[in-house]
Subunit: 341 residues, 3 copies
């Protein structure tokens, strides 16, 4: 429970209204009650402002006059909301120490402040820095290192020779360091290429549930500081992802792809192997990236959704585009002759 | 082993042929032997009827005269097959009780009829109702509740504050309640928004292997009664999915998407965030849903598959469609002038 | 550490240069040092050859004269590299025996040479042949069999009645044998069809992390010898995949799909149910396969990536293709009249 003035002071914001108003929770404009703090970050929700029952609202200064409640005024309301949201976190926090059911190698280096949950396995040579948290059933392979404050949720699997920086978050069932998909076409079938590299994550990297980051063939798969990756994303061997890039769910990066810094890949994007995206590229949802991108900007592919019966007619015509182009060119040529004749 | 008359009686069906015929198994029309029951639900398989060696066949009344075997007559043969199939289930059933290797908090409320497999973890405040089954290695977080008869297969992870109704089925490696992908673009990089909501599932919900359902940011991610979701599906934070909707594999729903009741999303579909699909919408495979849908019906996007060399030619022309349209308009304009002239 | 002559001898290759040159590692052309072996398998990297600092390079005979370093000469350099790569594998190898924290049913048949990691569960009726390796937390269901030398990485889940041949590799979080997505539309909602079949894998099958292979409804889901499947792939119930076929990440196969031998499916491909692909088919990335393919060759769908503003204009025109075709036909018809007139 925090007073409005206390929140303003703690997060460097201005406020209007009652300094002593007590805030006990955080909610949407539509659902907030008189003890709740709401926020307005997306103008799409502006129509909800007038009717909100929130005790206070985080919003931009120019909207304060239109707010029926007290205001916390922020140049970037969503960032302010992000920071304040942590005050209301009710998630249970694990206790320090090693659960008796965990199997921690005597040759692992585990800081006394680490929290090791039930049924965890930590192999020889692993290093867990201060304040590391491993949820139930997490597996940490040989010689893998987790930096200070890194948290791994239940059942994530980290193979050998994987390094995570500080304050990373790895969600349940994520897999870091499985073999890259490398096979040579031999005379009797596929011959496996041993995947000799590892995985390197910078600081403050977040990896979603069921996301897979493969180890490198030679050299490492590398994810830079501040990268955030959603659920069910595939990062193939020897990819390199630049600082603060964000990748949404169900996206797949093929091998040796290089993504620049500050890129945003929307959901379901696919990137072919051995291409490079420069910094500050945005790729819209379900786009197929088939070549390198050298200019910042927004890129897309695909076709618009339609009623299936309409789509079918247009889709058939897609298959005739080459002939449509030829028919058009023939008409143009004839038209010129007609004009001349 | 069941007699034909016994099956008819138990499932409210008519039969033709030998009442005492013993049925020992269930198989396809093509593979069934004389002790097997087959079924004909899809007319695509009608040509196989005449040659079947099945002891009996489940089919619609009008097809009975064409069946060389005894018949179980059903208005909805596939539903009858679904119900009868459970009689032949040979899957091992777990024993009641808590496996000695499981770690169950003394502050969890576990019904005596529940079955808790090896290496399971159940945290404080969790509630497991009668007949709940937890496979090996399942993790149930703090204050999460599982209704009567709900079954969770090995290694699924259920975070804190997740509620499942009765008779749900959660397959291996599914993750319910991981953090939604919520980050604000701060001055020095992404700032995490604490995901304060939970997940709420109704009754009889089935969730496939490696499917992820994220917790809500504020408020819950909600999946209504009778929803079925296949493998490797991403349901982002604050999605709401209506009753009896079916979602096939590899589909992704972005944040705050609302899907109506009785919808069917085929495989590989992507739905952008903050849109709403009304009830009774069908979306064909790999469609990109980029806007709300307000009318029931079938929706699609994409282009038809072709030989790569043909596809390439047409794909190039796709990139010229705007200019093709302009050239066509110019010709039309010229053609009018010609007619007038 | 191996001498150049020793490598040539062991792998049946020719060499040029110093027989006694000691090779201590393997690296890319760009990163190799004087103790490293590099390789040149893709002509894309030919420009890097002249400047390499590698001690020796694996390459095709005709490129040897252009190599500044010693050469290991191979008709198929990538295959030679694949084979040699295993010499430099530093991955830790598990110890033989059953970890005390594992729960192995007394009714399972486990070969004395098998390695069973911590927190593994092996159910009754399971058979683990010689040299099987189960990583931490692996689950092996009732009556599932693993052939000689098969390795399962941590936390993979293998349900009951799943059979794996010899020398298979299953990566972390993979799920073999979860229920197929089979439901009949009953009067009050979906009615589950019991999935009575199992899964059958041949020899030398590799399954990637978080990949799911569902059990069959009636009969088995079958994957033939030498098939390789990447991460996050969905193989639905009753699929059959032919020998030596390769499937890249994020691909989904719907139910009862049959894929021939020696096919290659690139990443993000979707295949609808109940279709059949003949042998030797290649499908390019993110293609939607909506019908059977009866001729070997390469197949594609989709549209090319472009700047979003250009793509939007063309995408709008896609929705007008049927009317563009009609306008074009009208002009053609008028043009013929004009010519005649």
């Amino acid at each position: 429970m925090y007073s409005l003035a206390e929140l303003a002071d703690r997060f460097g914001l201005e406020f209007t209204g009652e300094a002593g108003r007590m805030i006990t929770g955080i909610a949407t404009l539509a659902e907030a009650g008189s003890g709740d703090l709401a926020f307005l970050a997306n103008d799409k929700y502006l129509p909800q402002l007038a009717a909100t029952r929130a005790g206070a609202v985080i919003l931009r200064p120019e909207l304060a006059p239109r707010c029926p409640a007290d205001c916390l005024i922020a140049a970037a309301p969503y960032v302010a909301f992000a920071r304040i949201s942590h005050l209301f976190d009710r998630a249970p926090q694990p206790v320090t120490g090693v659960h008796p059911s965990a199997c921690v190698s005597p040759d692992a280096d585990v800081h006394a402040s680490a929290s090791i949950g039930p049924h965890v396995v930590v192999e020889a040579g692993a290093v867990l820095a201060a304040d590391v948290i491993l949820g139930a059933g997490v597996y940490i392979g040989h010689d893998s290192h987790l930096g200070r404050g890194t948290r791994v949720y239940p059942h994530a699997v980290i193979y050998h020779d994987v390094r995570l920086g500080e304050h990373c978050v790895i969600h349940a069932q994520a897999v870091l360091g499985a073999d890259g998909f490398g096979f040579a076409p031999g005379p009797a079938g596929w011959e496996k290429v041993c995947q000799l590299g590892g995985v390197r994550l910078g600081d403050r990297v977040e990896i979603g549930a069921c996301t897979t980051v493969d180890r490198g063939t030679l050299g490492h798969t590398e994810i830079a500081d501040g990268v955030i990756i959603d659920n069910l994303v595939q990062v193939a061997h020897n990819c390199r992802i630049g600082k603060n890039t964000a990748i949404a769910g169900c996206t797949g990066l093929a091998g040796s792809t290089i993504i620049g810094a500050n890129c945003t890949l929307a959901g379901g994007v696919g990137v072919v192997g051995h291409v490079q995206l420069c910094d500050d590229v945005h790729v819209t949802g379900m786009t197929m990236v088939t070549r390198s991108i050298t200019q910042p900007g927004s890129y897309s592919s695909g076709t618009p959704m339609a009623m299936t019966r309409d789509w079918k007619r247009n889709a058939v015509r897609f298959s005739q585009l080459e002939s449509i182009q030829k028919r058009l060119a023939a008409l143009e040529s004839r038209s010129k002759h007609t004009d001349k004749g």
